[in-house]
């Protein structure tokens, strides 16, 4: 808004927008609307995909497995138990290590542990079972 327009607007008169400005405004609005619109479309598709039956079932199964391992650790091990989770950083074992937090004390090496904890095939928690054996 330049000075003339400002005074016109302030005095209550109509501030007729110039054609260039109108075209520019339309161009900027179109560019932005196209980019934002495409992204919104993409986002809505994503949300629909997360809410698909297969995705929801997978997530629910994962949630149940997580809570099952959490409870199994607390039922099979005494509180404060020094445990060792072999090769914990390379797969599902990490979940046993992390979900033991606040109950057992994971050890970086087997020498200081009293129990060896691992996740093996089974039916206890989905397709896994928490295996606990004394060292």
């Amino acid at each position: 808004m330049d000075a003339a327009q400002a005074s016109q607007a302030a005095s209550g008169g109509p501030a007729a927008p110039r054609a260039g400005k109108l075209l520019g405004c339309a161009a900027v609005c179109c560019i932005s609307a196209a980019a934002l619109g495409l992204s919104i479309h993409h986002g809505l598709q994503d949300t629909a995909a997360y809410l698909g039956k297969r995705s929801v079932d997978l997530a629910a199964a994962n949630d149940r497995q997580e809570e099952c391992i959490y409870r199994a650790i607390r039922s099979k091990l005494p509180r404060g138990a020094p445990i060792y989770v072999p090769d914990y950083a390379h797969g599902k074992e990490v979940r046993a290590n992390d979900l033991a937090t606040l109950w057992a004390v994971p050890q970086p090496a087997p020498a200081t542990a009293r129990w060896i904890v691992s996740l093996v095939r089974g039916r206890e928690c989905g397709r896994l079972r928490l295996k606990v054996r004394p060292r």
């Binding site: 808004m1 900027v28 986002g43 994962n62 997580e66 990490v94 992390d98 937090t101 004390v105 994971p106």
Partner: protein
């Protein structure tokens, strides 16, 4: 639902008065309140780790102190008013529209997804924090947890631990929900900032501003993809940092805009390590922009020499940078003190040349920055036709926004090139998340120009008052 209760009762209510003190009568304060609560929980975690006792005890102490300071500020302020105020109708309408827009991506929460980092990092850290000082300290130093990045900042797990304090450890997924809801709040602060740009215009600009603000809510989650709703913290730090950019580097200079930007930067710096580095850069830019502005920190005194002015500006810059950076830097210092370092730089590096890593990084990052040319086109048209309108409204120079974007990309680029993990798998697992900030900044630029263009093409019947509460002693100029 449980997480929403914790968000409101556990974080929002303790953070309400401080958030209102920071943002004043702006729709942002509604979304800022839970973020301020989460930042207080993070500071409480720092105290739990550094001194003793539990998160809950320190959270109560920190909340009481912060609220007492807010009350003291309101009493000390008296009836003094800072510039023009937003109408209550506009504030409520904007908050309602932005809130409604945020519900759309949050529907994804119904899928109950549990991301890898959400479990291995954030849930584990939340349980450590729940255990009190001794458990937290010993677990962070326990080498068994090394792959879970124990040095990561405490805001996300602190919010999770607070949820566990409300509902117990029976529902582990509540920690994920807390992260997602906090991310939504941070996006809400960005959206209300964009809406504020058009708040003083005519219906076209006002409506357009609220519409693009609402659009950004969906766009932010679209950029993040699955990581926005499965408990990852990347959207939270990125949106908080973009909030700092919008309120500190785009909106006209004012006390409330600065305070809101600081709060956003504190949240970003306490969420992830890349959030800390990015917010430090953004805070430095905000400090540069505000040095010379008339703020009540160091009042002007006539007849000062050039040296005195230089010293005064240096002191202003230091205050503007260090005060909001302190909570994030305190956590980083605590981590070094207990012997923890960033895992990405601490292991021996792979046999890859710097050029191989740089080439792979450039390709990896470019794939996620397809919006950059479009944003550049909007910038070009906007600068050619509406530069004067932007200047007259007191909005920051668009260069600040682009500079923040480039600085963030430079930091991420350096981390990938100088880091020690195998570059291709590292990029594959993270580059879509580390570029969320840059993408959101570019989409914000795309959202801002239509508002400025509508305001310039259909100007409001107003004198040269600025868009928001610009200090009266400061002329509204582009800065």
């Amino acid at each position: 639902m449980s997480a929403f209760v914790v968000l409101i009762a556990g974080l929002g209510i303790p953070g309400l008065l401080p958030a209102f003190t920071l943002a004043r009568r702006s729709p942002a304060f509604i979304f800022l309140a839970p973020l301020v609560g989460a930042a207080m929980a993070a500071v409480a975690t720092e105290l739990e780790l550094a001194i003793a006792w539990s998160l809950l005890l320190w959270y109560v102490v920190v909340a009481i102190v912060v609220n007492a300071v807010s009350v003291a500020w309101w009493i000390g302020r008296g009836r003094q008013q800072e510039g023009s105020r937003q109408s209550l109708e506009w504030v409520l309408l904007t908050a309602a529209v932005v809130g409604a827009a945020l519900v759309i991506p949050l529907i994804g929460l119904r899928a109950q997804m549990f991301g890898w980092d959400a479990e291995q990092i954030w849930l584990t850290h939340a349980m450590m924090i729940s255990g009190g000082h001794r458990e937290l300290l010993s677990s962070l130093q326990n080498h068994s947890y090394w792959s879970g990045n124990p040095d990561y900042p405490p805001l996300v797990p602190a919010a999770g631990a607070l949820a566990f304090a409300f509902y117990g450890l029976g529902n582990l997924h509540i920690a994920v929900d807390m992260t997602v809801l906090l991310s939504a709040c941070a996006v809400g602060v960005v959206a209300t900032g964009i809406a504020t740009v058009g708040s003083a215009g005519r219906a076209a600009a006002k409506g357009g501003a609220v519409a693009v603000g609402a659009a950004i809510c969906v766009v932010a989650f679209a950029i993040s993809g699955i990581y926005g709703v499965n408990g990852y913290a990347d959207l939270l730090w990125a949106a908080a940092a973009v909030g700092a950019v919008v309120w500190g580097l785009v909106l006209p200079r004012s006390g409330s805009a600065l305070a809101t930007a600081w709060a956003c930067a504190v949240v970003a710096s306490l969420t992830k390590n890349e959030g800390l580095t990015t917010s430090l850069v953004v805070l430095a830019m905000i400090a540069v922009r505000y040095v010379g502005a008339t703020l009540p920190l160091l009042p002007d005194s006539g007849g000062t020499t050039a040296t005195a002015r230089w010293v005064r500006n240096g002191a202003r810059f230091a205050v503007l940078l260090i005060v909001p950076a302190a909570p994030g830097l305190a956590w980083a210092a605590l981590m070094r003190l207990i012997g923890l370092n960033d895992r990405f730089f601490s292991t021996s590096s792979y046999d890859e040349s710097a050029s191989t890593r740089a080439y792979a990084t450039i390709h990896g990052m470019a794939d996620h920055l397809a919006v950059a040319p479009v944003a550049a086109a909007a910038l070009l048209v906007g600068c050619c036709l509406f530069r004067r309108e932007r200047k007259r409204a007191g909005l920051g120079n668009p260069a600040w926004l682009w500079l923040a974007c480039l600085a963030s990309l430079a930091i991420i680029f350096y981390t990938y090139v100088a880091g020690s993990l195998e570059i291709h798998s590292w990029l594959a697992s993270s580059v879509n998340r580390t570029t969320i900030f840059a993408q959101l900044v570019l989409y914000t630029e795309l959202a801002l120009w239509p508002v400025i263009a509508l305001d310039g093409t259909f100007p409001a019947r107003r004198d040269q008052a600025a868009v928001v509460d610009v200090p009266r002693r400061l002329p509204a100029t582009q800065s």
